[in-house]
Amino acid sequence: MSNINVRFRLNAREVEAQTDPRMHVIDFLRKNFELSSPRVGCEHGVCGACTLRVDGDIVRGCLMLAVQLEGTSVETMEGLNVSGEISDLQQAFHERNATQCGFCTVGMLMASQDWLSKAKTCSRSAIREHLSGNYCRCTGYEAIVDAVYKVAIARGISSVKEEV
């Protein structure tokens, strides 16, 4: 099929590239812009490793077509690294050893920051619920929840009693 031109904002920079309609966002970002943070995981929306931000909302990169990026603003971990938006969260992941093999980490950080930026109160169960769409096959969930919880408290999100 003939390629389609796509113009969008990628990590605060205006960019443009050609894509085959069938290509999803993750392959597109990896192949055309040499970004390695968006992971190619299950490619059917189950694992969450491809989570990135489009127009401020987290989405599954594998379930969105590259042509649909036209006119959007995309943020990947490379962009967040530069802006420093989640340096406290990254530090907490490091300290708590919440990164094991590292494959899920980018998606976990994206989903965690999404929760941290919206949460009004903080509980471990709320964190788990929000991260339920992200698999860690090292099964290091406990450490990940620890890290996110610590950052939530440090950012002033008030802790509430766990719902059983």
Binding site: L63, V67, S132
Partner: protein, 287 residues
């Protein structure tokens, strides 16, 4: 795990979308949120000569109040429904249901109409549409028409939508302030499709529950309701012995085509449906 090739069109309005579909014919598909279609295409369960991307059609997105109804544009994202103040006020059961609906990254992208048109047997919105007597507003080559939810869902992934039809919006009568509702699901992981699930509603009159209605989903080929069962449960509520509910639920559902899944056989699904129905009634009484 990559989709086969397809052409891509992005119509600006409904007429353009219908024209596009007429031009490409049978093997072209409408693309709404893509949270079911794209995985199916990536896994090559599904293929298409052309995807007609509806996301540029602004008139198909948003929620408005019209008389005693909320009209939800087919392209309204799950999360827009879940976080809408209007929905919280007029159709709180949709907000209750959205707690079970997939994961946040999926909810940000998936659409209300996409879920209804796909008619996945385990999905929340088709069940809600059936329970709430929604009407589907459909655009087609021969003009617009409306189909009530009870006639719309016809079988496993089968709906009243014809080949060239486009689901434009869903009109749902609002819940009255004296209505109570409840959604319960059992799933192995939060946000996954359920093993068994129910949605129930009832009016409160002088402290008593009236007009009880319940829909079972994630157990059959489509969301299931049964007026006679509703009446029987209503009768039990009046009598007060709720322990009878699971048995009459099982008896009623046994007449339906209950579908086993990878983890649970028909017996388990019947049992869990009965348990959930009783819990739903208890919850409606307690609230």
């Amino acid at each position: 795990m990559k989709s086969s090739s397809f052409a891509y069109e992005r119509p600006a309005d409904i007429q353009e979308a219908l024209a596009s579909k007429a031009r490409w014919g049978l093997s072209a598909k409408y693309l709404a949120g893509g949270q079911s279609l794209i995985p199916a295409m990536n896994m090559r369960f599904n293929s298409s000569t052309c995807l007609i991307d509806l996301n540029g059609i602004k008139s198909m997105r948003g929620i408005r109040e019209d008389g005693g109804e909320l009209v939800i544009g087919a392209l309204t994202r799950h999360e827009e429904v879940a976080s809408s103040d209007l929905v919280q006020k007029k159709l709180p059961i949709l907000v209750q249901a959205s707690r079970y609906l997939a994961h946040i990254a999926i909810r940000n992208r998936g659409t209300f109409g996409g879920s209804v048109a796909l008619a996945h047997p385990d999905a929340e919105w088709p069940a809600a549409c059936l329970l709430l007597n929604a009407r589907m507003r459909i655009a087609g080559p021969n003009g617009a028409r409306e189909v009530p939810a009870a006639d719309f869902f016809q079988g496993l992934y089968a709906t009243a939508l014809q080949e060239d039809d486009l689901l434009e919006s869903i009109a749902i009568p609002v819940q009255s302030p004296s209505e109570r509702s409840c959604v319960l699901e059992l799933a192995r992981r939060h946000g996954d499709f359920a093993t068994a699930a129910v949605m129930a509603r009832a009016q409160v009159e002088n402290g008593a529950l009236k007009n009880f209605a319940i829909v079972f989903f994630a157990v059959g080929d489509l969301p299931l309701c049964d007026k006679e069962l509703d009446n029987s449960i209503q009768h039990i509520i009046a009598g007060g012995d709720l322990s009878r509910i699971p048995d009459i639920v099982k008896t009623s559902l046994m007449n339906q085509n209950i579908r086993a899944d990878l983890y649970s056989d028909q017996k388990t699904k019947l049992h869990l449906s009965g348990v959930l129905a009783r819990r739903a009634v208890e919850k409606l009484i307690e609230i």
